[in-house]
Symmetry: C2
DNA sequence: AAAATTATGTGTACTTAGTAAACACTTTCC
DNA sequence: GGAAAGTGTTTACTAAGTACACATAATTTT
């Protein structure tokens, strides 16, 4: 067993995160992680109930990253900047993004309260932002718009991840910095 | 080996489709399928290179279903009705929908030309519909709008699949029939 | 501090699932 | 009518998740 500062649990998360960022969740297998951590195949089970537990930790970390990104931009009620962060995250961490927002997630949120909270907070932040943009509209109209913004952002991430854009990621990122907010404004508030 | 009219290949597809519709792709495993078909575990490999081949067939079938749905409504260039079909499909066949549009698809489209064609046709149908709606705009603007519509529709499917709506699916379907086109009009062309 | 409990890691082994390889029979085609 | 191709079986390998029994170290309890 290698000698490290952090707990094995922390190391495992770190290793899994790296694999997931660089490759994908499918490439994270416990034997591989264990080997990288320098422990036995099953040491893992002392810290996680099962593999999905680990997935949940990575997802939570993803939400925290998006959230931190939003804070950095000092987003306040500006849901446009909020959406922009979302998109940046989707481009920068595509595999974590998939983990979090792919339809094929077999994670039962109710089993992971922190995760559920983070996910809900994330959405209600958006709703608040939208509401402050259209303060005279009904709750229903605000919700509809919020969902629409959300869908827009998801759609955009999907588009920007297509190979045409990924071939030179640097330019894509530049495009985002220069045009993203304008784009979101147009597609969401005409 | 049971005695049937269709080829084993057709039967396998049928069985897999049913499992996938009722449960999910993750629940389709070749041993189970083989057992239901009344053949040995590996007979499957005489008809498919691997499991992904079968997945591709199911996806293609999904595209055909959406397409057929569009024909029935006599959709023409009306991309609103087109989007509505998309949503209906997403609600009626959620697991097939995931298979087709979930981010976590490990299908390499270029390996399945029919599938690529179907998928592209599906999108260019939408683009055409949008174009006829805004004939004086640039190619770029049309594409941007098309992607936005697409994203909207995806977003809506996601929303309608949340538990609040799924609890009484019948009402959801009714809602779709009554309000969907209006909703799409508002969210996409303000 | 001795005893009991809990935490952390190991080794072994079971299970599920995808699939390769060798064999056999049957149909097709020159 | 024999070669080739098609279809199915058996057997077995591999990867990956995880349960279980054991060991030892750390912590808590009395």
């Amino acid at each position: 067993m290698a000698d490290h500062k952090e707990s094995l649990k922390e190391r495992i998360v770190e290793i899994a995160w790296k694999i997931c960022v660089a490759e994908s969740w499918q490439k994270v297998n416990m034997r591989r992680v264990a080997q990288k951590a320098g422990v036995s195949n099953t040491a893992f089970y002392r810290h996680f109930k099962n593999k999905n537990d680990l997935k949940a930790v990575l997802m939570l970390r993803g939400f925290q990253l998006i959230y931190k990104g939003s804070k950095n931009v000092n987003v306040g009620n500006n849901f446009i900047a909020y959406g922009a962060n979302y998109v940046r995250f989707g481009i920068e961490y595509p595999h974590i993004y998939d983990l979090m927002f792919g339809h094929t997630t077999d994670i039962d949120m109710s089993l992971y309260p922190d995760l559920e909270v983070a996910s809900n907070e994330s959405f209600s932040g958006l709703v608040e932002g939208v509401k402050s943009f259209m303060p005279n509209n009904s709750e229903n109209e605000v919700m509809r718009k919020a969902y629409n913004v959300w869908a827009s952002v998801h759609g955009l991430v999907g588009i920007l991840r297509r190979s045409e854009w990924q071939e030179n990621k640097t330019e894509t990122l530049e495009w985002i910095e220069n045009n993203l907010e304008e784009y979101l404004k147009i597609t969401t508030f005409g």
